[in-house]
Symmetry: C2
Subunit: 466 residues, 2 copies
C-alpha cells in the first residue's frame, strides 16, 4: 500500500514550512445555467462531493514509515473522508469579488496537513452577481500549477448541454480525458507522472536534486550574458511570513494584442510591460523603487526538438528567460520596447543552450518554489531575479462544467522566501486573467497592483496610439 | 521567551492525533441590536479582530526546542497574525441551523496546527433568521471546556447599552474581569492556572500523571460499589475517526423543572433521563441497544470543604459520579426514578471518598479526554462508562456583547477512542442548551438524537402528569 515518494515531490514536502506552504491554487468562476434553481450551488457541490470513485492521486497522503527507515512514502488514506476535502462555503455580505479574494487569500494561507490527502476544493456561493466560485488547493508534491489548472480544465466541455461530467478528482476524470485525447486539455495521472519525470530526471539519477542545482547555478550565474543579469534588492526579495494575499482581474486579450500589433511586440511582451509598469508605480508610491531595473524570470514555451524533453501534452517543454523589466524607464512605450528586446535576447541565449541546460532551466521554470530554497536565495546578497511572471495559455473557447459556464480562471501560486510576489497569467475565452499571489505582510496592499495594471494598460494603449 | 509546558497540557498535546483532535469548542448565537446596519456582522467581526493587545494565553504556541532536549515548551508566536485566528465566514443558503451545525462540525473536525497559537474564532453570518453566530475553538492544552465557556462569558455584560467591550482574547478581557470580580464569570489567566494546578497537582509532583491514573483506576474499579458499575459495550465505545458531527438544541428550563418538581427529582436527573431516553430510542432504531443499562460519567459540583481543592472561581470543585442510565427500562417515569436513585447513590459514595480520591475524580471529570487514552480504554474489554454527560450551569440572566444579545450558547467537546459521543449541557437565560459532539462515522445520524430528546421530554411530561 505504501509507495516511495520521488525525490522531487519529497523535496517539496520537506522544504515546506509554516511560512512557505507548498500548494498551488486555482480560482474558477462559473455562471449558472439558464433556469438554475435556488439550490443550484448546493447541487453543484453535491455533484462534486458525491463522486463514485476518487482518483488514486487524490487518495494518497505522505507518511514517514518506520519500516522504510523514516523515508517518506505515499500511502492510501484508509479513512479517506471526501467531506473533509470537498467543502461548501459562502461569502459574507456584500459578496463582492473583494470578499471572494479575501476568502481565497485565507484558504491559500493555510497549510495542508500531511495526515490526509493533500488537496481541498471549496464550492463558494454568495457572490452578489450570482456567479459560483470554485477554489482548489493541491500540494505541489502532487501537481505543479500548470498541471493543476489543466487537470481542472480536463473535465470541462465545450458543450453547454453536456451533463453527468465527473469532478476533477473523480476516477472517471482521468479515464474521460484519455478517451477524448483532445490536444490541449489532456491530463490524467499518467502524463502527470511524465511531467514529474521531466522535472526530476537529473534529480532522480542523483537521488537528490543536487546535480540539477549545480547546472542551474552555472546557467544562472555564468553561462550566457543574458542569464547573468543583476537583479536589485526590492521589498519583494525578503523573507516572508505565512500570510497570503491574492488579487485577480482580467482584461480583453484584444486590447493587449492591439498594442502588440501597433508596436511590433508580442502578447507576452505586453503582459510583461503591464506588470512592469504596475510594479514601478507600486514601488514608487512606497518610495522603494530601486535605480536598477527589476528582473523577472519568465517561463517560455520551447520547441520539443530544442529541448529534447517530452512534457505533459507530449508537445512543448518549458524553458525560462531572465527579462529586464526596465522599471527605471518612465515612458511606457520605451519600457515595452526594452522588455521586448530583453525577451528576444533571452530567448536567443536559451536556444543556444545545451539540452541539459535547457532541461535544468525547464525545471527551474516549473519548480521555482523548490529550486529557490535550495539556492539559499535567502542568504545571497543579490537575488538572481526579482519575481516570476508566468503566462500559461488556456483554452480559447467557452467551456462548461455540467452546464455551468466557466467565465474566469485564475492561478494562485507559491510565494517563497526571497520571492514574496508571484504573477501568473492565463488566457481563456478572449481574456487575459492575472493572478497575483503574495505574502500579505511583505507586500502591503498587494491588491493595489490591480489598479496599476489597469492604468498601465491604458498608458500602453496611448503610447501605441491604439 | 520559551516556557516549559506543564505535564497535563503536554499530555493533551501528545495524545492528540488526527482522529482525536484535542480542542474544545463553543457555539454562541447572538441577536443583532435594534437598528443594526447592514454591515453589522462585518463590524462585529472587525471589533473582534482589531483588539489592541492579545492576551498572552492566545499568543503562545507549543514548540519542541532542541535547546531543552526536545521537550515541549510554550513560545510566543513572533509572527502572530490575528487574521489567521479571527475569521469572518458565511453560511450557504438557505442558512438554516442545519447549515450552521454543518459548518461547526467541519470546523470542529480540523486540527489546530502547533506552529501557531492554538485557537480560532469564526464570526458567522448568513443565518436566515438574521442572527449572528460565533464558533470558537481552543486547544485543551490551553483551557478545558468549562473554562473556555467561562472565558467567553467573562467578556459579556448584562447591560445591552454597554459598548467598547473587549474580545475574549483581548488583553483587556482579563483585566476587565479582574476589575469586575463578578462571582460567576471571573476567568482570567491567573484562575486558569489555578484550575490547571488543581488538575495537575499529583501529576506535576510525579512528573507524569501516572500517580493520578493509579488513583483513578483504583477508584473506578474497586473502592466504592457505585463506582464499579459495569458498562456494556455499545456502538459509542469504538475507535473513532477524525470526522465530527455536532448537533445542538435547547428547551425551556421550566419544562424540565416542572417534571422534577412533580417527580421529586432534580433538574440534572431530568437532563440525564432525556439523554437516556434519546439514546435508548436511537440504539433501538439501529437494533443496537444492549441488554445491560448504559452508564454515564457525570461531573458534579462538590462542596469546597469536601474536596479541599480550590478551583477556578474559588468556590466549588468538580467530582464525577457514575450513573446507571436505565436504558433497559421502557417506561420513562420509571427510568427517571432509577436514574435519580443511581445519582443519589453515586453522590453518597463520592462524599465518602478521601480528598485525594475526589481530586482524582475531579481530574477525571475535567479531563476525560486525556485520562481515557491513558487508561488504554481502547484495549479494555469493558469500558468503565459509555459516555460523559456534563451539565454546566451558566448565567441565569440575559447577557450582551457590545449590544448583541446572547440567545444561545452550546459547548462542543472532544470525542475520543472508545467514547465516540459526548453530551454537554449548559443553562442560560431560562433555557437548557444541549450540545452533542460525536464522530460522524462511528455515530451515524447523530442529529436524530435531537428529535429523540424532544420526544423524551414530552414523554417525561406525560409520565409526570405536567
Amino acid at each position: 500500500m505504501a509507495t516511495p515518494i520521488d525525490p522531487t515531490s519529497a523535496a517539496f514536502l520537506l522544504t515546506e514550512n509554516r511560512n512557505m506552504p507548498m500548494h498551488v491554487g486555482g480560482l474558477q468562476l462559473f455562471e449558472k445555467p439558464e433556469g438554475a434553481g435556488r439550490n443550484y450551488t448546493r447541487e453543484l457541490f453535491e455533484q462534486m462531493r458525491d463522486v463514485d470513485e476518487v482518483s488514486p492521486l487524490f487518495l494518497k497522503h505522505p507518511y514517514r514509515s518506520v519500516r522504510t527507515g523514516g523515508q517518506l512514502t505515499w500511502r492510501e488514506d484508509a479513512q479517506f473522508d471526501i467531506e473533509h476535502h470537498v467543502r461548501h462555503s459562502a461569502l459574507p455580505k456584500p459578496g463582492r469579488i473583494r470578499e471572494l479574494l479575501e476568502l481565497c487569500s485565507r484558504l491559500h494561507g493555510t497549510r495542508l496537513a500531511w495526515e490526509r490527502p493533500l488537496w481541498e476544493a471549496h464550492v463558494i456561493e454568495g457572490l452578489r452577481d450570482g456567479r459560483v466560485a470554485l477554489y482548489t488547493k493541491t500540494h505541489h508534491a502532487l501537481v505543479d500549477g500548470v498541471s493543476a489548472m489543466r487537470l481542472l480544465q480536463s473535465v470541462l466541455s465545450t458543450d453547454p448541454d453536456e451533463r453527468d461530467m465527473p469532478a476533477p478528482w473523480g476516477q472517471a476524470a482521468g479515464t474521460r480525458s484519455r478517451k477524448k485525447k483532445s490536444n490541449d486539455l489532456v491530463l490524467s495521472e499518467a502524463p502527470m507522472t511524465a511531467l514529474r519525470s521531466a522535472l526530476g530526471i537529473t534529480a532522480e539519477a542523483a537521488g537528490m536534486p543536487s546535480a540539477l542545482i549545480k547546472t542551474i547555478t552555472k546557467g544562472v550565474r555564468n553561462e550566457t550574458s543574458s542569464l547573468s543579469l543583476h537583479a536589485p534588492r526590492t521589498l519583494f526579495n525578503q523573507s516572508i511570513t505565512g500570510s497570503r494575499r491574492f488579487a485577480a482581474q482580467d482584461w480583453p486579450i484584444e486590447r493587449l494584442r492591439a498594442i502588440g500589433k501597433a508596436t511590433g511586440t508580442t502578447l507576452n511582451d505586453v503582459v510583461l510591460a503591464m506588470c512592469s509598469g504596475a510594479m514601478r508605480t507600486y514601488l514608487l508610491e512606497l518610495d522603494a523603487l530601486p535605480e536598477a531595473p527589476l528582473v523577472a524570470m519568465v517561463p517560455v514555451g520551447l520547441n520539443a526538438k530544442q529541448s529534447q524533453i517530452a512534457s505533459a501534452d507530449g508537445g512543448n517543454a518549458i524553458g525560462s528567460v531572465m527579462v529586464q523589466l526596465a522599471t527605471d524607464v518612465h515612458d511606457p512605450g520605451k519600457r515595452l520596447q526594452k522588455i521586448h528586446n530583453s525577451m528576444r535576447d533571452g530567448k536567443q541565449a536559451l536556444s543556444s543552450m545545451t539540452p541539459v541546460q535547457i532541461m535544468a532551466m525547464s525545471a527551474l521554470g516549473q519548480a521555482p518554489a523548490i529550486i529557490a530554497p535550495m539556492l539559499r536565495m535567502q542568504g545571497i546578497v543579490r537575488p538572481p531575479y526579482n519575481l516570476i511572471i508566468s503566462n500559461v495559455p488556456g483554452p480559447r473557447t467557452t467551456h462548461y462544467w455540467n452546464g455551468a459556464k466557466l467565465v474566469g480562471t485564475y492561478p494562485l501560486s507559491i510565494p517563497i522566501n526571497g520571492m514574496a510576489l508571484n504573477i501568473t497569467c492565463t488566457s481563456y475565452d478572449g481574456n487575459m486573467m492575472f493572478g497575483l499571489t503574495g505574502c500579505r505582510r511583505t507586500v502591503p496592499h498587494l491588491q493595489r497592483l490591480l489598479a496599476y495594471l489597469d492604468q498601465e494598460l491604458t498608458a500602453l494603449e496611448k503610447a501605441a496610439g491604439v
